[in-house]
Symmetry: D2
Subunit: 145 residues, 4 copies
Amino acid sequence: MFHFYQPITVRFSDLDLLGHVNNARYLTYMEQARIGYFAHLHLRRLRDPDVRFILADAHVAFRRPIFLDDEVRVGVRVTRLGNKSFTMHYRIEDASGDTVFATGETVQVCYDYQGQRAIPLPEAWRQRIAAFEDIPAFAEEPPSP
Amino acid sequence: MFHFYQPITVRFSDLDLLGHVNNARYLTYMEQARIGYFAHLHLRRLRDPDVRFILADAHVAFRRPIFLDDEVRVGVRVTRLGNKSFTMHYRIEDASGDTVFATGETVQVCYDYQGQRAIPLPEAWRQRIAAFEDIPAFAEEPPSP
Amino acid sequence: MFHFYQPITVRFSDLDLLGHVNNARYLTYMEQARIGYFAHLHLRRLRDPDVRFILADAHVAFRRPIFLDDEVRVGVRVTRLGNKSFTMHYRIEDASGDTVFATGETVQVCYDYQGQRAIPLPEAWRQRIAAFEDIPAFAEEPPSP
Amino acid sequence: MFHFYQPITVRFSDLDLLGHVNNARYLTYMEQARIGYFAHLHLRRLRDPDVRFILADAHVAFRRPIFLDDEVRVGVRVTRLGNKSFTMHYRIEDASGDTVFATGETVQVCYDYQGQRAIPLPEAWRQRIAAFEDIPAFAEEPPSP
């Protein structure tokens, strides 16, 4: 289901006083997976320095606590390529994939800092991701909630 | 709309290399607001040491970047008191309330670590929050997604 | 002894599983105090964008643990203005100043990113800090350790 | 010189707005190395739950900035076993060992939380570390600074 996994090393400083990984760190793990994914697809260098993907939305469903000695990986994939935005899904799990710690979802918007507005996704990104994930290169924007 | 606001001091170390507050810190700000809210309602001391609220779900909708010099506060309230869980809403905004940086939502489950299972919310919590927020002291669990 | 204090709000996420503020956060608190100090002296705007102070050395002596409910402030001052570097001292204490949690020291070097080399401190900085702290505007570099 | 190295994965969230790893994270990397070292020597399980090593002193000498793509490891060793405290040295470097990013030093004190006082190091710890590092099993406390 996922074609890319990012291994994560749990740090002692990720734990809060309840003894497990603090909830905010799940977004950090997902961010790390997102960056690893783009590097894996060689998508970092395509970027115009003025164009960035900004996070518009993030959701985490917590299932089980993560402890210091857990070996963690994050499965990550793009599930939708819209006009100016795209959606990613995540599964934070143990290295064997048997235990799911959390699932997550983020929406990124392609933003032109120079022009200060959302712009269509770069075509090269779109094609490369569509091929990697075997999904349509273009999907409608999701309806506004 | 919110009866409690938690002021937040943005730290230099909250910023990432894009120059604004890193996305994971929004969950930290919401956590800080949650803890401030419970302290404000004197709800921390009601707790059985073996009973804790664990985070089951978190959602953030990002609207505008937060910079180092922004004065930030988080409006937080309980919007639903279920049997074993409750829902909180957040608005991360500037100190005047004119600019909204993000909105968020979390679901907490009341968990008995000794018995390793979800248990009903303590009645004292339920009553105090219902009175403070002027919401029903008991609402059905939300349907599973 | 200190002419400037930076108040610090302890965050739940600053605590590690031992229940007190994690050791790395002391450097974050000191950094926050350093930035507040420069803002207080209106020194941020004097900076050439290519010139920055980079941290060359940091030392923390831990005395007592900091807990979530502690009201913390950091006293900070410049104790030495060298040619290309300066030294700051810190005292992390409770709001009354009665309890000292830690003391610290950092050395900053003035660095020209364009030229990639250490350069003398800006004269305006030097004068303003010397006047504020009532210390010599120029002191010899400390001997290499 | 080091018999143990802890690999560190630099996270995007470790970087601050200057584009390199924030100074406070160096203590996090050293903490991670310290924990890895104790795990490597099977020293975690020897511990009485009421006895902990608390950090008394930390020093970092920064040499070069660390960037996102750097492969980092931390060499760590115990250099002194005192009566109630011990000293560790660190070298934060790239994976090849050719580039040194920072060096550091920490002092830990063995503390009995039940009795609320510093106590002598557990004998098993002392012997195991002395053998691993080939250093004296007992050294005088350093003179107070």
